[in-house]
């Protein structure tokens, strides 16, 4: 994985982005949202921020075993 596609700025180098955490399962407790992490070999849904760009928060779906980015979209609105 060497770059991500920001929904606003388009494809940018990975070092512009910062990983925050994996998305908590919907309906999880506050404890789980702070401390627990979803660990699956082939699928990871994560919160990232374009810290050295437009600073948008994004939802990134990746395969952590291959490094393939499956989906990038803006976080907010009706997205959890």
């Amino acid at each position: 994985m060497i770059r991500l596609i920001c929904p606003f700025c388009g494809p940018r180098e990975l070092r512009e982005f910062e990983f925050h955490k994996t998305r908590a399962e919907p309906g999880s407790t506050p404890y789980a949202q702070v401390y627990e992490r979803v660990n699956r070999l082939d699928d990871s849904v994560e919160h990232w921020q374009h810290v050295q760009g437009c600073r948008a928060w994004m939802l990134v779906r990746r395969n952590p075993s291959t490094g393939l980015v499956l989906e990038t979209r803006i976080l907010g609105g009706d997205h959890p």
Partner: protein
């Protein structure tokens, strides 16, 4: 001629001289998987092998170690070989100190030279704030009876003269917190030494054996499903560094663990240059730690890659950070070439401290969450984890490493960074 590896001694050398070929045996033999064991340990890395060794030696149990790939394929063969016990929190520094004491005698205990080299570990400090922080940590260590020295720049120059070249820099190093008994241990020898010693005690080490599930009955685990069939076990220990989160998912649990990559790299061999281990954390470069291996290569590592991954490849940007830091410290090595680079998967817990506890079932245990510091704790973790598994009660040294501490709020956040492993 079959049989276990002979005990190493001067006499054995002499006998081998006259015994001809075949005197020396493989360190661990390819044993057959049996149907039932007292304890099945999953993962033949440092922690798994050390746990198995102590279960067999101290508690006399029948043990199998199941390994998906090869002995020492994971982080025990991928780390930067640094050992130290310079921690701030009492729960940590007593445990890590126990480990450092065990390193001092491990070669004798295993009858295998693990090349413990107490060359010192120097945490380099860059500001008055760093000095104050280090003094606090150093005082905490010394109150616990652990050696350390707070050095100013002049003392540091005497301790590590190679750093003189980095003197006139924009962000000069003002001092260091040095632990002289810290240093380096040959990492592969640790895996091989434990595997050999465990095999000699009758432990079955089974490579190429993938554990795919845990079978349960009446609320306790009864055995593991593997790629080589079902194995019955009274107790199960998971020592699967880097993949413990996935083990949690296999057991329908969500653990306070993220898997991150940590890179390391080594340069071409050069003549003896660096007599200690340097640890350098700087906002401009990230993190770099560097030492010189006995072969002469400079072994370097840095901070995590920054996001969950199982690829074991490593990002170019992080490699760049590490090299920049190394050149800032030792400008004289700027022309030396890097010959190998690799990465390992790390269990990053949400407070940076390990977890040695039961996992969901009363007879399933986990030895995990070693973050980027698991190598140095292998001897202590093996002994303590074996005691927990054999007796059912955690010894005092690991009482704090409970999984429930995240819920009860008894975190061991050495770094004070909160539940975000990537932040320095």
């Amino acid at each position: 001629m079959k049989g276990p590896s002979p005990r190493y001694s001067a006499l054995a050398l002499l006998r081998a001289r006259f015994a001809g070929g075949g005197f020396w045996r493989p360190l661990w033999t390819g044993r057959r998987l049996q149907g039932a064991y007292d304890v099945v340990v999953v993962g033949a890395g440092g922690h798994g092998l050390a746990t198995a060794f102590h279960l067999a030696r101290d508690h006399g149990l029948k043990v199998a170690v199941l390994e998906k790939r090869l002995v020492g394929y994971g982080n025990v063969g991928r780390n930067t070989t640094i050992v130290r016990s310079n921690y701030l929190l009492p729960e940590n520094h007593y445990f890590y100190e126990d480990s450092l004491r065990r390193w001092e005698t491990l070669s004798k205990d295993l009858n295998y030279n693990v090349m413990y080299s107490p060359r010192g570990v120097a945490d380099l400090l860059l500001s008055d704030g760093d000095m104050i922080d280090a003094a606090r940590r150093g005082n905490a260590m010394r109150l616990a009876g652990i050696d350390c020295e707070l050095m100013d720049r002049a003392a540091l120059d005497r301790f590590c003269p190679e750093l003189v070249a980095s003197r006139d820099r924009r962000f000069p190093i003002v001092g260091a917190l040095v632990q002289r008994r810290g240093g380096s241990v040959r990492h592969d020898a640790v895996a091989w030494g434990y595997a050999r010693a465990a095999t000699a005690l009758g432990v079955d080490i089974i490579e190429d054996c993938d554990v795919t599930g845990v079978r349960t009955a009446a609320g306790i685990a009864t055995g593991v499903e593997t790629s080589r069939g079902y194995v019955q076990a009274n107790r199960i220990v998971f020592a699967t560094a880097g993949h413990t989160g996935v083990i949690g998912t296999m057991l329908d649990m969500t653990l306070p663990i993220e898997t991150h990559l940590l890179q390391a790299m080594v340069t071409e061999p050069i003549k003896p240059l660096l007599n200690t281990v340097l640890v350098y954390v700087h906002p401009a470069h990230g993190e770099t730690y560097v030492l010189q291996s006995d072969k002469g290569g400079l072994v370097m590592g840095g901070h995590l890659d920054g996001f969950p991954s199982y690829t074991r490849d490593g990002q170019w940007t992080r490699m760049e950070d590490v090299v920049q830091g190394a050149i800032a410290l030792l400008p004289q090595v700027a022309g030396v070439k890097i010959v190998r680079q690799w990465a390992g998967t790390n269990d990053m817990t949400m407070d940076g401290s390990p977890i040695i506890d039961r996992l969901r079932y009363d007879n399933v245990f986990v030895n995990a969450g070693w973050c980027y510091g698991g190598f140095k704790t292998i001897p202590a973790s093996g002994a303590a984890c074996a005691q927990l598994v054999a007796s059912g009660t955690a010894p005092d040294l690991i009482k704090a490493y409970k999984l429930s501490r995240f819920e009860t709020g008894h975190l061991l956040d050495e770094r004070g960074g909160g539940p975000f492993p990537v932040r320095l």
